[in-house]
């Protein structure tokens, strides 16, 4: 990290190959599945960590630090988006359930349900979900990234699952009719 901050191109490349994929997935999931936006955020994140390299505490986990920055970038983007929404009334289109797709619950259907449910969740819960289930991080690491107690992470993830289950039940009821 220190070499990358000092301007070593090789060090930057190593860091990029190690972290770009999971970070890109994180941004992709958090930023309304917008690929170009996710790429822009990934680029900006690497520029940020190189410029703020001296702020990195070597006693901390680098992974936690980099995801904390990514989390803050997403929070800022949500704030900007909320402002745009207030001014223009424009918002990102939510992925909606196809009305005609009344087939048994498959992977695709589950993900549509999941996306619909996540779209209504708070930004913090969405972050927890992506970190836990997409990037397979453990609860202590997530709590360090977001900056909240482990118990909060566990209970929020549990209640998210509960809400998803409720959506699933509704869908099943629709199928049975």
């Amino acid at each position: 990290m220190q070499k990358a901050a000092a301007g070593s191109e090789a060090a930057v490349t190593v860091l990029y190959h190690r972290y770009s994929r999971p970070l890109f997935r994180y941004f992709f999931r958090m930023l309304w599945k917008d690929k170009s936006k996710a790429e822009d955020f990934l680029h900006d994140l690497f520029i940020n960590i190189m410029e703020a390299g001296e702020k990195f505490d070597s006693g901390r986990s680098f992974s936690t630090w980099i995801y904390s920055i990514a989390h803050n970038m997403c929070k800022n983007e949500y704030r900007k988006q909320a402002f745009r929404l207030a001014v223009n009334g424009h918002h990102h289109p939510e992925e909606s359930l196809p009305e005609v797709a009344m087939h048994p619950l498959d992977e695709q259907m589950f993900h549509l349900l999941l996306d619909k449910c996540l779209a209504h969740e708070q930004e913090e819960v969405r972050t927890m979900f992506v970190l836990r289930y997409e990037l397979e991080m453990n609860v202590p690491e997530i709590s360090r990234i977001i900056g909240c107690p482990e118990g909060t992470v566990k209970s929020r993830l549990f209640y998210l699952k509960k809400r998803l289950a409720a959506q699933l039940q509704q869908y099943k009821v629709m199928l049975e009719r």
Binding site: E9, S20, R21, E39, F110, K161, A166, L168
Partner: protein, 186 residues
């Protein structure tokens, strides 16, 4: 939190039918019905396989190129960045002391070169002339005018022949003349 951990474990391992009465009583705090439990179990299974099932998402190679371009542009500027770095006062003082000590040490280790001072000394001594001077200069010529007028007046009175009076050189003048002859000085 222990209850949630226990419930998560049960969701992963047991169906509702497999739960004991005691376990059903424990989970009833969080789960209202068998349907809800089974739905949560299904969600759990899907989520557990979320990462392995996810589409292989990767950023385009352009992103890395852009980052490298940025690194190159900043590192070329950064070569001269040290000039604008703030230097603490103690560092400046330490450098000044080090330079002073270094100069003093370098000066003391070199032997001083002897300085040559030219001193002219005037010695006055007696000079003896080895040969007599061949040229004699006479500095003073004494002309003594004749007292003719006086002589004419005297002839009338005494009818005595007038003896022209001539004055000779005094002893002092003679001495001076002789000294001149010996030294040869003008």
């Amino acid at each position: 939190m222990e209850k949630i951990d226990k419930l998560e474990k049960l969701l992963r391992t047991c169906s509702y039918a497999e739960l004991s009465v005691e376990q059903r009583r424990e989970i009833s705090e969080y789960v209202n019905s068998e349907e809800e439990y089974e739905s949560m179990r299904l969600v759990n299974q899907h989520l557990e396989s979320e990462n392995s099932r996810s589409l292989p998402l990767a950023p385009s190679p352009e992103v890395l190129k852009r980052i490298k371009g940025h690194v190159r542009s900043t590192s070329s500027v950064g070569l001269w960045n040290w000039l604008s770095l703030p230097v603490p006062t103690y560092a400046t003082a330490a450098i000044a002391i080090a330079v002073g000590v270094g100069c003093w040490w370098a000066g003391s280790s070199r032997k001083p070169q002897p300085t040559l001072v030219e001193k002219t000394e005037r010695i006055v001594d007696t000079v003896y002339l080895s040969s007599r001077p061949d040229t004699i200069f006479i500095d003073r010529v004494v002309y003594i005018p004749k007292k003719e007028a006086a002589v004419a007046g005297v002839t009338d009175i005494g009818n005595q022949p007038t003896v022209p009076t001539s004055r000779g050189i005094s002893m002092k003048e003679k001495e001076e003349l002789e000294r001149l002859l010996v030294s040869g000085l003008r």
